[in-house]
Amino acid sequence: MYPDEATTRGVASRVYLDNVCGTSVAASDRFNINSQLEHLQAKYVGTGHADVNRFEWAVNIQRDSYASYVGHYPILAYFAIAENESIGRERYNFMQKMLLPCGKPPDRDQED
């Protein structure tokens, strides 16, 4: 294995095309989708909205990815081999990176 395969970390959140259990949209609820969206935004971290900016989006994706790495032990092991660290250390590093995954947020005033 070439270790770069593992260290080049991709966007894992696009993989969440997965099943949605518990929040399946029944046919009758389809019409009040807006109220549902608000509910989802409150309930599920990272549910997008119209004004989401690039930074927020990226931060969200990165946190999702790190959480996914921490959850999938084989991927964690794969990274651990690539970086020659223990799996426990890899997990800790990923959790630490969840604090500021994309560096400092942009200045709000400048952005406007």
Partner: protein, 1217 residues
Amino acid sequence: MFLYSLSLQRATGIVCATYGNFTGGKAQEIVVSRGKVLDLLRPDDNGKLQTLLSVEIFGAILSLAQFRLTGSQKDYIVVGSDSGRIVILEYNKEKNVFEKIHQETFGKSGCRRIVPGQYLAVDPKGRAVMIGACEKQKLVYVLNRDNAARLTISSPLEAHKSHTIVYSITGVDCGFDNPIFAAIELDYAEADQDSTGVAANEAQKHLTFYELDLGLNHVVRKWTEPIDNGANMLVTVPGGGDGPSGVLVCAENFVIYKNQNQPDVRAVIPRRQDLPPDRGVLIVSAATHKQKSLFFFLLQTEYGDIFKVTLDYDKDDQVTELKIKYFDTIPVTSAMCVLKSGFLFAASEFGNHSLYQFQGIGDEPEVESSSATLMETDEGFQPVFFQPRKLKNLVQIDEIESLMPIMDMKVANLFEEETPQIFSLCGRGPRSSLRILRPGLAVTEMAVTQLPGVPSAVWTVKKNANDEFDAYIVVSFVNATLVLSIGETVEEVSDSGFLDTTPSLAVSLLGEDSLMQVHPNGIRHIRADGRINEWKTPGKKSIVKVGCNRMQVVIALSGGELIYFEMDVSGQLMEVEKREMSGDVACLDIAPVPEGRQRSRFLAVGSYDSTIRILSLDPDDCMQILSVQAVSSPPESLLLLEVQASSGGEDGADHPASVFLNAGLQNGVLLRTEVDMVTGQLSDTRTRFLGLRAPKLFSALVRGRCAMLCLSSRPWLGYIHQGHFLLTPLSYETLEYAASFSSDQCAEGVVAVAKDALRVFTIERLGETFNQTVVPLRYTPRKFILHPRPQGHSLVILESDQGAFTAEERDANKKEAVEAAGGEENGKMDTGDQENGDGEENQDPLPDEQYGYPKANSNKWVSCIRVLDPKDATTSCLLELQENEAAFSVCMVNFHDNKELGTVVAVGTAKDLQFTPKKQSNGGFIHVYRFVDSGRALELVHKTPVDGVPTALCQFQGRLLVGVGQVLRIYDLGKRKLLRKCENKNFPNTIIAIHTYGDRIYVGDIQESFHYVKYRRDENQLYTFADDSCPRWLTASLHIDFDTMAGADKFGNIYFMRLPQDVSEEIEDDPTGGKIKWEQGRLNGAPNKVDEIIQFHVGEVVTSLQKASLIPGGGESVLYGTVMGSVGALLPFTSREDVDFFSHLEMHLRQENPPLCGRDHMTFRSAYFPVKDVIDGDLCEQYPTLTSELQRKIADELDRTPGEILKKLEDIRNRII
């Protein structure tokens, strides 16, 4: 194309573990999660870990916990998985299954950021369980019991906190006060908003106590306090009378005791002397030992050192001191369990797991580090150093093999055996190895004795039916019989009563305590008091075949006459009935007498006219033919075996046993036919080709149950394992005759004869598919190739490690360290401790396998190229790369323009490679080596610098194809270096795999799946004409056929893709080449797209794919190896009917047998992409574990009988392995 997916070797790595009394007895059991497999292990009386149960759960287990309701005798298992559900399991000892007691849904499935499952914590008194996610969500379930003493679970109580990352949770032991859970939390809300970065710098981890108010039934945040920002793990401290309560917070470099209303007590974790100063020390696993009067913690660091942590506390439960003492060093674990019986179970994160026994608990008073001696200076706390030493408190008593991680794998028959071997590169760093896997069970040879002649048969016999052990081994030669008595030693005796001047045909125990010897001229019956009765054959006839059990004897005379004897009440052997068969009898057998019966009812007789008859032995219809079976070839050997072919109960006790007639035919086939217990009718025949010789069948005992030994060109064992009847080859030489053997030293062994030797062996590790031969390696293996030599083969293996020192540096450092430590130790030795005496001095005091390589800076690489002869496991050449180069790719090339050089090996290396903060390297090299010393060694021809890291190499039309980053390039051999001939720079990221076929090239990109490339010789150009529509993070690739590639991605999927037929033809018949040249794709892609034809989620990162057949004459299947150390196979179906049958079976099993931990089977197999045209054999193989009603129900829906379904499952497995 449809594929049948089957795990051949389940995952061997361990994710997490918990221990308790799950059977309810005194025995301690360990439940381990191997990712998608849940195992129950138990150390047996000999200290060997046995797997009691192993269940595939079709999901990912993230966390395990165990709890016990107060006053109960039995522990329950709580499982946190990716199913969005909490599952509580109970082990049912009688049925040998995990029973799902509760399953509560709380969220979406999948490993998500805010769906709980990552962390589990239980109240030490078993009253509540908390399940948490990486972020925000934590749910508390109250556990109780109802009037019927059944476990109940409440609806969830929320303990959520938004914008909060959770590092660890644990239950706090506070006796019978309200349950409290502790969590390490980090709030990121402000850091996300503050563009100056100040808030992020000031972000502070907190330890928060959540109290579950049992009266009000809600959860409150009771207490929160800032803690060290390196905190990563919590360990519960016993409380409620047993200790001071509270938690240990393990942080980078520190262990801190914290509790409400108590000051922090902090101690430094000692560091190894050779650790670079910028590296921290992190605790990665912990175990607690608690008994009445004392408790201590074992904490393991990321370097493998275990520290014993003890607390001193006063009467008011105020902790006064925290002491850290170096305990021992073992390979880094993912989980540790201290068993009450004095064992330490260590689940290694990579490599073999171990069971250790405690020799001591390190209770000498001097400690390395303590809160009392903590020194704080201006730069922070003063570090404490220690020197690792040999194991002192632990001694290893058992090892469980683990292939984790498989880095590369190839299947080849290098040893010219009947079946090919799997060569896999496993492990990491100093524990790396090449493991040669052979399908079959491992055999431990106990003794080999040369005999005076070539024996023809062997039996073992007891003196009394109630004896535990065998008394004699009887060996028959052409004209003599040798009797050996079994005692302290095995020696020849002459007072046994056996006739030794004639060969024997059968020797057995008759009745309670008399012995029988059948020889060609008669039957010799030896009574316990020494009286001998002899029955002589009539006329000139001689006995040719014998079948007997404890009460009945049937002999076949030459000419085909059968005579049946039975033992009467007085212990006399009486002739009962005769029968003339049409021709000579080839073989016969009587089943053992069923318990509580007088006689066995069936006699099986095989004739040379290729028929097998079942005869009745009942007094009413004695020697009447009940049924006849015509077979393909004359039978050589028969065995009636009682098999409980289905599980339920401890290995099938619930199901009625059925009798199987096993017949070894002269063409090497084994037939297994079910015999109706009442009518004697034969039905449901299963056949299996065992080898080139006619199988001889013998009954044996395996774990106290009937099993069958089949001796063909190799020995096989048929036995029951966890409800399945398995027929597995033994990795042993060809045997002539065998018998089960039981003695003091070896309870369940086999004695066998082969050529002129008598062999005694035992069979271990039942249930394993492969047995391993291990060859240690130096660094993490990356890739290898097979090189055919004139005699045999060599393997060329690349090994490289990041952040390690070279061998010379290590040796020098070690010498220094040992000298320093040795000086100290010698000083100490005078004061006591004499046992580390002289004898051990010659050994390596700190073997790297145990202690790991010392850490160097992360930009330092070590690497070597090894030439290894697999036959004698010797390294014939080992080249250490110099100047911080690391080898990553290898291939063999025959350069077209330079024939005299012969085959050369090209190795791609990177120089000064680093990944953080930014991936970069100072280019790389392609080394070209030629073989010298008839293929045993390598010699450098030249070294060509390239501008990036050559991550993929492949021979292509007598030249070398190289993938360097985004560039695909063709090189030819020059005098001083390789010469560039042609290149294409338009690949998306990094090329990591190249395959070729004709003038077509298949390029695998690290993120973007495969690209199909055509090389036009006339123009000397490389054109990409097709690619994939999905971005895939390729980890392994395999060329299937001209249009088809198989690949595996980082998220654990395997997929096949195929170029549409019309596109393929169009590309091949494009005479002008204009179409390829000018055709443009959309959105920077290639003009054509390949179709996905197979899609399957394995659930583990697949690191290697291979096409191979593991059985002689079998069809090829695709084998894969994963990071978790599992090996699986994908077998293409050959008929549409099979596809229909198995897809229906799979569908029914999905409905009737949903996975144990709550994940839906279909969504698991479609976790990233919808599963396509693959039938999950692992699910289908759960069919025998269902209850018999359910089995019948499914069978009815499929218009078959359960027996037919079991046969189908067995058949398809036999086609793979």
